[in-house]
Symmetry: C2
Subunit: 405 residues, 2 copies
């Protein structure tokens, strides 16, 4: 294996782990949160904003980039890092979740997922092999297998069938990934640090842009513990650089999610990273960390920012509220981000009420800083054995429903 991917647990506190995940584009301190850059851009902010907010790794969407601007185009640019101007680690999802969220516009069979493009209605087929190749072209540091995400509610037999299919797809993804890796190793050798993109096997016309890519498997199984156990067995049997828990945060109660995470995480190898996909609120994240999760992604901080909802040390603020019209305080008095250093709640409210684009920019800068600073606090708390205190504090601040006030 050329892959420089590694994961080390540095401290533990109960099930929680403080670790270091090394990728071809640098090391990430875990537990880590990945801002979501669907189309190769985290909405409303620049790569510099991301670095300043403390982002160490970001997520991009295979499905969206495949359709636009196209994975082959990005490969010709030398991969997604160069194309989007982000030099840190990137994880790409596989498109499975987009298939789920597209609903009626897709059909799934053993071969793969048939989509109608949300852009032009054209018919597209995403197979496990295809999803693996697209991610090889994108050159992310971490590729995900193509999985089927069922959503809730689903009958136990349907979940079982879907879980077995996801396992078969995972095998096909891994096989294709290893073929690509072998071609890369043969062609590049082991000594090249940052090679130019090359075509490892000309007959496949596959332009690989990151020879150090790792691949994560995904545990499915819905909300049935025994199906989760089955999925863990099937997926570990294949073997990946690390493992994700998918199919959660899709409508089930928070308690169910916590229970499934608490059941599944300990079944995964202690020495490998664990990624809970699509989660969540600050409280969800801390609950999952305390159950052994290392990696998170979620659109909440960025999407809520654009809607004017700020995460602060004082709880959630709906900044458009009239009560902030004369509030000269910083959006979050405890925050060190550009927005909080520079602007008042009243000004931010004014920009939102006026429909100014800068409102989304400033709120996104803040929400990302809040999330990433919370992750830093989580990492410290694991080392100092104070995670329970942090969890209680976040619970007190963030247990109110998202729709308040």
């Amino acid at each position: 294996m050329i892959s420089p991917f590694s994961f080390r647990v540095l401290h533990t506190s109960g099930e929680a782990r403080r670790g270091a995940m090394t990728t071809a584009h640098g090391t990430v301190e875990t537990p880590a949160f990945m801002p979501v850059g669907t189309l190769g851009a985290v909405k409303a902010v620049t790569s510099r904003d991301l670095r300043e907010a403390g982002a160490q790794i970001i997520l991009a969407n295979t499905y969206h980039l495949w359709l636009r601007p196209g994975d082959e185009r990005i490969a010709r640019f030398g991969g997604l890092h160069r194309f989007m101007g982000w030099e840190g680690p990137i994880l790409t999802d596989s498109g499975g979740f987009q298939a789920y969220s597209l609903g009626a516009r897709r059909s799934i069979n053993e071969d793969g997922i048939r989509f109608r493009s949300h852009l032009d209605g054209s018919e597209r087929m995403l197979t496990p092999e295809g999803a693996t190749e697209i991610q090889a072209r994108l050159g992310s540091d971490i590729a995900m297998v193509l999985d089927e995400c069922l959503g809730q509610p689903a009958t136990a037999p349907a979940v079982r069938e879907s879980t077995e299919r996801s396992a078969r797809w995972a095998r096909r993804c891994r096989d294709r990934f290893l073929q690509v890796q072998e071609s890369v190793a043969r062609d590049w050798g082991r000594t090249v640090e940052r090679p130019e993109p090359r075509i490892p096997s000309p007959e496949s016309r596959l332009l690989v842009t990151n020879p150090g890519q790792a691949q994560f498997g995904i545990i499915q199984g819905g909300t049935e513990p025994e199906l989760r156990t089955l999925s863990v067995t099937r997926t570990l049997d294949i073997g990946f650089e690390a493992y994700a828990i998918g199919g959660l945060s899709v409508g089930e109660p928070a308690e169910t999610m916590h229970a499934i995470v608490g059941h599944t995480a300990p079944l995964l190898p202690a020495g490998q990273a664990r990624y809970l996909m699509g989660v969540g609120t600050p409280l969800d994240i801390v609950e999952a960390v305390s159950r052994g999760i290392d990696l998170f992604d979620c659109v909440i901080p960025t999407r809520n920012a654009r809607n004017g909802q700020l995460f602060t040390s004082e709880g959630r603020l709906t900044i458009k509220n009239a009560r902030f019209a004369d509030d000269a305080g910083a959006p979050d008095p405890a925050c060190d981000c550009y927005t909080c250093r520079t602007h008042s709640r009243a000004y931010l409210r004014h920009l939102f009420v006026s429909g100014e684009m800068g409102a989304a920019v400033l709120a996104t800068v803040h929400n990302l800083r809040f999330y990433l600073d919370t992750m830093a606090k989580v990492r410290d708390a694991i080392v100092f054995g104070t995670l329970e205190t942090l969890r209680q504090s976040l619970r007190a601040t963030y247990s109110r429903p998202l729709s308040d006030p």
Copy 2:
């Protein structure tokens, strides 16, 4: 006078002047371009972006801030600088141009301009005294008199009547401005450097937030040289810290605008700054500088950026064009802005085609840098006597119509 406002001509080259304009919030190198921050924010960018682009002074809109969030609210925050987080000089227009652009929703009589608010339809009356007081509350470094902007075409008698009315309004603006200044001087004295906002005359309930505010008169007169001369006479008779040329760039041919500027600028005092309102393209600006103008504002760089039109050293680029889909070059290879240092034309096109908000941010950062760097080149060219060369070069690059390609 408390006002620290001053203007010095440092170099001349023909009619063109290189100067320094000192305001209560710092000194501006002229010729200068003012980015437009209508609602107390230059659309899509932060104050930091503005500083990095080289902005030394910005413009904000009296009419818009009066309606939302309200000048009294801003005054309670200590003025517009503090409210919006911009510590450099600010010029506020008077609302006259907004009256013009609102068209049917306003009526003008001797007393002032009656508007229907574009926000809630409420009836508002903007008088010369009112516009002066609103700007005193906003605390801009440079306030403009309320003028009537007629637009083209207009009959000579209508222009003459309007010009005379603007002169009478200018007198009322100046009288009210001087009353406020005297109250400020009496209340604050001359020694306070950066005082807290105070109410100089309690009966007026006027919270003044910038005791060092200056006021510019505006020359009207349409496209008739003799009416421009009349307006200069009337306006100089009142006496202001500096003079603007208004009522241009409202639909007349570029040659007419240049001719009126060429006629009017030399009639203005050589030792005072001259501001051409609402102009313009890079070429328009250089043409006006060569006729003796020192100060400019225009929405073109910011608005065109949001529409995907970039100003570059190679000319205008409509970045959405398919020909940029695989263009790995910087948006402007000669530019040092964040966008051009970090991203390719292909990436910027991808963001625009995908409707990503970041597209507007990155394009605005670049266009402002292009404009402000052009102003730096203009200032150098005046000192080195190379303005004609610069003008020829810009003419070659920018004489194509705005709608290309």
